[in-house]
Amino acid sequence: MHSNYQPFLLRLLGNSRWVGYAVALTVICILIPVLNLAVPEDSALHLSDYTVSLLGKILCYAMVALAMDLVWGYTGILSLGHGIFFALGGYAFGMYLMREAADAGSQLPNFMVFLDWHEYPWYWAGSDSFIFTLLLVVLAPGLLAFIFGWFAFRSRIKGVYFSIITQALTYAFMLLFFRNETGFGGNNGFTDFKTILGIPIATAETRIVLFALSGLALLAMLWMSHRIVESKFGRVLTAIRDAESRVMFSGYNPLHYKLAIWTLSAMMCGVAGALYVPQVGIINPSEMSPANSIEIAIWTAVGGRGTLIGPLIGAGAVTALKSWFTASFPEYWLYFLGGLFIVVTLYMPQGVMGLGKKLLGKKS
C-alpha cells in the first residue's frame, strides 16, 4: 500500500469516494439552502419549498432503501415489513412533537381529550424529553427487530417464509395502531405539529435545517455502510447470503451476524422515520401498510441490490416518478409499480447500477 506515503489531501482527492462525499455535503448544506432561501423567488434558479420538502422526503426514503440493501442485497434476507421500523421511528418522534403541540388547558393532545383521557398512558412517559425521544427513535425499532429476529433466525426461518412473516408483522402493527384505544391517535395518527425544541416547525428555515440534517444522516449511514460492507463482517454477510451452511461449518454463528445487521437496519429506518415526520407533518398507520414495505423493496431492487449507491438512486427515482404519476394518472400507479418490479426482476437483476455498468462496458 504505497498510498500511505501520499500527502493526506492528495489521498483524499485521489479517492473518488471522498470527492463524492464532499460534493454531496456541499450540495446538501450550502447549495440547496442557498437556492431555497437566498435566491429570489422569481429567479429560474429558485428552489420552491415544495421541491425542498420532496427532496427531504427522498433523503429519508434513501436511508430506508440503504438499510434494506444491507439486509437484502448483502445478507440475502428479504424483508417485506421494513415499513414498521420506519413508522416506529416516526411515531417515537411524533410523540415528542404531539407533547409540544398539546392543548394548553389539558396538557394533552386533542385525540386523548376526545377519548376522555385525563393523563398520558404509561408508555408516553419520557416523551416530553428530547434526548429520551432521540433514544426511543432507535431503541423502539431496534428492540422490536431484535426480538423478532431472535426468534425468526433462531428457528432458521428463511426465504419467502421470512418475508411473509415480516409482512404479517407490519400488518399486525398497522391494525394495532388503527385502534383509538392504543393511544397513538388511531387512523388519524399524529399531525398538527407546532414546534421542535420550541422553534416553529412550519417555517422555511426549520424546513431547510431538517432537510440538511436528513442529508447529513444519510451521508453518515452511507459511510457506516461502506465500512461495514468492506470489513470482514461484510464479507461474512455476503457469504451467509451465498452459502450459509459453509459459513456455519467455518465456525461462524450466522444467528449473531444476521441479528446484528437486521437490528442495525431497523435502527437506520427508525432514524429515517424520525426525520421524515417533522418534514411531512404527519404520521399515521398507513405507513405500516404492506404496500409501503413492498415499495421499499422495489426501491432497492430498481437501484441495484448489493451496491450502496443503487438503492439511493432507486428511492429517488421511484419517488420522483410516483409524485408525477399520482398527480397525472393516480389510478394506474400501483399497476405501474407492479410492472416495474417484474421488469426489473426479470431483465435488470442488478437494477439501474447493473445497467449502468453494462452500458459503460465494465464487467460487473
Binding site: D242, G251, N253, H256
Partner: protein, 273 residues
C-alpha cells in the same frame, strides 16, 4: 494452553497426567472421534441404526457403502446438523458433539467438505480462505480485526498447496469444478481442524486431479485425522489404510481394503452388485 499438548500426543493414557479442559480437544487416549450406538430416524426410517465406530488420531479412514447406507446422515450428526435420537458422539474424550452447535463444532476442530463443492462464489479465492481461516469468529473481531502478516502467509501457503495462487484474486464462482473442490479442501485446511470430514472429495474431478487429491490427502494424514466418504473404489484403494463399510445405518465390515473386499456380506450388498 496446556491443552494443546494433549491434542497431539497419542502416547496412551496415564492417569493424572493432564487436566481436563472444557472446550479443548483431548485425544490422550488416541481416539479422535467416537460414535456409540448412534440412531437417527426420519419419520420412522432409521437412517442410522445403532452405529458404532471410532477413528484414531492421525488416521485416514474411508467410509463406503451403497446409497442410503447413512453416510451423509453420519456426517450430519457429527457436524451438528442433525441431532441423533439416541447414542453418544464424542470428539476426543471430552467434547460431546450432541450438545454443540454447528459453529461450535467447527471451532472445536472438525472441518467438513460437502458433496457438492460449496465455496463462496462471489468472493475471491483469497477471501474464501480468509473467511475460513482459524481466528476469532465473533462479530466484533470481524468488524474491526485486520489480517496479520502471519495469517497472510498462512493463506499464501494454503494457496500453494491447492495450486490456486495464480487465481488468488479471481472470483471463486469462475473456478472449474475440480478447482472448487480444491478450494474447499483449502478452506478446511485454513480452519486448522483436527478432524477433516470429506464427502466425495473427487466427485467430478479428472483422473489427473483425482491423483493429485489422493497425494494431497496422503500427505495430510498423520497431521490431521481424516474421514473420507467416497464411491470411487480406485481412489479409496489408493488412499485407504482402513475401510469401514456402512449398510442400512450400521457397520457391516471394517478392516483393510483386501479384507473388506473379500468379505462375503460386503460383496453381496455392495461390491458384487
Amino acid at each position: 494452553m496446556n491443552g494443546q499438548e494433549n491434542m497431539t500426543t497419542d502416547d496412551g493414557y496415564v492417569s493424572g497426567s493432564h487436566l481436563l479442559q472444557p472446550g479443548v480437544l483431548d485425544t490422550s487416549h488416541g481416539v479422535v472421534l467416537y460414535l456409540d450406538d448412534v440412531t437417527v430416524s426420519f419419520d420412522g426410517f432409521r437412517a442410522l441404526n445403532k452405529l458404532s465406530f471410532s477413528v484414531d488420531v492421525g488416521e485416514l479412514r474411508c467410509i463406503i457403502g451403497p446409497n442410503g447406507a447413512g453416510k451423509t446422515t453420519m456426517m450430519d450428526s457429527i457436524t451438528g446438523k442433525t441431532r441423533p435420537d439416541s447414542g453418544s458422539l464424542f470428539f476426543g474424550q471430552t467434547l460431546d458433539l450432541t450438545r454443540m452447535s454447528e459453529a461450535e463444532i467447527a471451532q472445536a476442530g472438525i472441518g467438513r467438505k460437502f458433496q457438492k463443492p460449496t465455496v463462496f462464489e462471489q468472493h475471491t479465492v483469497f477471501e474464501n480462505l480468509e473467511l475460513a481461516l482459524k481466528c476469532d469468529k465473533r462479530i466484533w473481531h470481524s468488524l474491526f480485526g485486520k489480517l496479520t502478516g502471519q495469517q497472510r502467509d498462512a493463506i499464501d501457503e494454503i494457496m500453494n498447496t491447492i495450486v490456486l495462487q495464480e487465481l488468488a484474486n479471481s472470483r471463486a464462482g469462475l473456478l472449474s469444478h475440480g478447482q472448487k473442490q480444491w478450494l474447499e479442501i483449502g478452506m478446511l485446511l485454513a480452519q486448522q481442524p483436527q478432524l477433516l470430514l470429506l464427502d466425495e472429495p473427487v466427485a467430478g474431478m479428472t483422473d489427473h486431479e483425482t491423483e493429485r487429491t489422493a497425494e494431497l490427502l496422503n500427505t495430510l494424514a498423520g497431521k490431521h485425522s481424516i474421514v473420507v466418504v467416497e464411491h470411487d473404489m480406485d481412489f479409496v484403494a489408493s488412499i485407504a489404510r482402513k475401510v469401514t463399510v456402512l449398510h442400512e445405518g450400521s457397520v457391516l465390515a471394517e478392516g483393510d481394503m483386501a479384507t473388506v473386499q473379500s468379505n462375503e456380506q460386503v460383496i453381496e450388498v455392495y461390491l458384487g452388485r
